[in-house]
């Protein structure tokens, strides 16, 4: 399941990340922000009246804002690690 289709406030785990879907710079930043396979992740908020703005999600202990393009590159799985 993509992060974008995850229910808000339902903790999950990162299954895989399509690093090729983003620039090298962005993949580096995301890694620095704690994104890795197996990290715990949770969708928290979506900005914008129409619900088409950026996503805020918790990765590990950090809250990270990203656009749909990046959130869509993250596959998640619910349940135990």
């Amino acid at each position: 399941m993509r992060l974008t289709s995850l229910e808000p406030n339902h903790p999950a785990y990162v299954e895989s990340i399509d690093w090729n879907a983003m620039s090298e710079m962005d993949s580096r930043r995301l890694r620095e922000l704690g994104l890795h396979e197996g990290a715990s992740i949770e969708l928290l908020h979506r900005a914008g009246f129409t619900g088409r703005g950026a996503y805020a999600c918790r990765i590990g202990r950090m809250i990270v804002a990203m656009r749909a393009a990046h959130a869509g590159a993250i596959s998640v799985r619910t349940g135990a690690e």
């Binding site: 983003m22 620039s23 710079m25 962005d26 580096r28 930043r29 995301l30 890694r31 620095e32 922000l33 704690g34 890795h36 928290l44 908020h45 979506r46 900005a47 914008g48 009246f49 619900g51 088409r52 703005g53 950026a54 805020a56 590990g60 202990r61 950090m62 809250i63 990270v64 804002a65 990203m66 656009r67 393009a69 990046h70």
Partner: protein, 621 residues
Amino acid sequence: MEHRPMIALVGNPNAGKSALFNALTGAHQKVGNYPGVTVERKLGRLALPDGRAADLIDLPGTYSLDAKSPDEQVTRNVVFGHQEGERRPDLIVIVVDAANLDNHLRFTLELIALGSPCIVALNMVDLATRDGLELDADQLSQDLGAPVIPTVAVRRRGLDDLKAAMVQGIPQHAAPLPVHSEHAAPDADELRRKAREIARRAIVAETPTRRITSQIDRVVLNPVAGPLILLALLFVIFQAVFAWSEAPIAMIEETFAALQTGVEAVLPEGFLRDLIVQGVINGVGSVVVFLPQILILFFFILMLEATGYMTRAAFLMDGLMARVGLSGRAFIPLLSSFACAIPGIMATRTISDPKDRLTTILIAPLMTCSARLPVYTLIIAAFIPSTSVWGGIGLQGLVLFALYVAGIFGAVVVAMLLRIGVIKGPGGSFLMELPKYQMPLLRDVIIGLWQRAWIFLRRAGTIIFVTTIILWLLLSFPKPPAGSDQSLVEYSAAGRIASVLEPVLRPIGFNHEIALALIPAMAAREVAVSALATANAIEESEDEDETARTLGERLQGRWSLPTALAFLAWFVFAPQCLSTIAVARRETNGWRWPLFMTAYLFALAWLGAGATYWTAVAFGL
């Protein structure tokens, strides 16, 4: 020879380096720039418990030594001792966020692997506790192989232990050069794994708590309430900028008036007295009155940053910004540009996409900075009646609001055009950490304000001081021969220069006096006001019988309403600020973009002022 040890604070962004730096050095700090780059260099003096003094530097935050941005390169170079104008640190204090250990330990391990002396400040333990985390500093120290000192920078806790550890950690003899990371770069994934492992062992207990941050976010980031709250906040800020500044502005005005009277009483009539009274006090005073407004705006910006709200604002704005080809990150620099475009342009460094960043730099001067306020307030007070329209809204305030909106609207259009034209290409991305909410620390906010005030006053004391004197001289000489029907100002050198410009400005309704004010106002917009004031003061001194009138009253008699409106429109767009152009040059590494910026803004200013003038004339105003 006495060698003062050099200690560097290094760590991830938001680890609390600056807070620790402020707590350790207090008022003993110097802010400057590294040569050739606009990276801030913050140096402070610190008294160690063994009686020695040490130099402390606050390095820009970075996530790794694999440096990409100019900020990160400075940090990297300092750590390796390669930074021009900086000694190699004798000791590195690695600042980590205790509530975010696994993330911050990765960089810590990378730094420790270099082999230079370092100690770890385990900062923000209060926030970790708030989140239900209990940490074992000894275990961490053992696993890292470096001393670990728990600290709470903002409550000044752990500082004595940290200083004691510094004394222990500074080597007696010159430390070996750090291993060059190119040769010994540890594998990134391996480091991450190790960091997580060490973090796990350091966490003794983890009780889930209801986090304050997520509760606030539920309201503040709500799709409906969030934007409304942001809008309300911006409204309050701009209200406060005007309402709160009235009293201090009046005080500053009185002070300068008293100063003028004082000097007039002491000095004999003549050249020197005129220069000081009409030139210096008058000119510098007309600029310093804006200090209160600048400080109020920066107060709010600093507060929003310190609480952690600013990044939320960026998050909320990202959708809108994306539509004009920008990123939510541009919101912070653009908001700062309402105070002054210089810190705004410097703040674009946090935007990683080069095209996003360039676009933001190019439109930053369109945000109505506080240097335009002197011009706006003078003209509005003189030409816009202080009546109410539509049931209670003040017309003067409305005009001012319209000027702000015109700038924003111009920026939106320009950004869109730039992204289709000169800076074509796919939009960048938006990736940003939203830090935990915090009670801001008044002390840090005050230090920040003091630094802003100092930068502004230094500008008033240098650029504005000098331009005012030169202008006064150009306006006063040469004197017209006896019996000439030309006025003193028209006959002067400045008057003749203005006459050259006049043909270009005449079509958009500008008169000789405006042409004259615009030349020195290239240095800084607010100089336009002091220039008008100086020119009028000189003229006024000519007609002896005339009673003293305010500058506004004098302008009323000489400018038509369309001319005044066109003058306002000109200042919405015109790039009348050399410092902004200079900063844009530094930040874009060349003259190409600042020249482009200057050209397009002047074109916009001419068209904007012209359109205003022609419309106003057509309506018979």
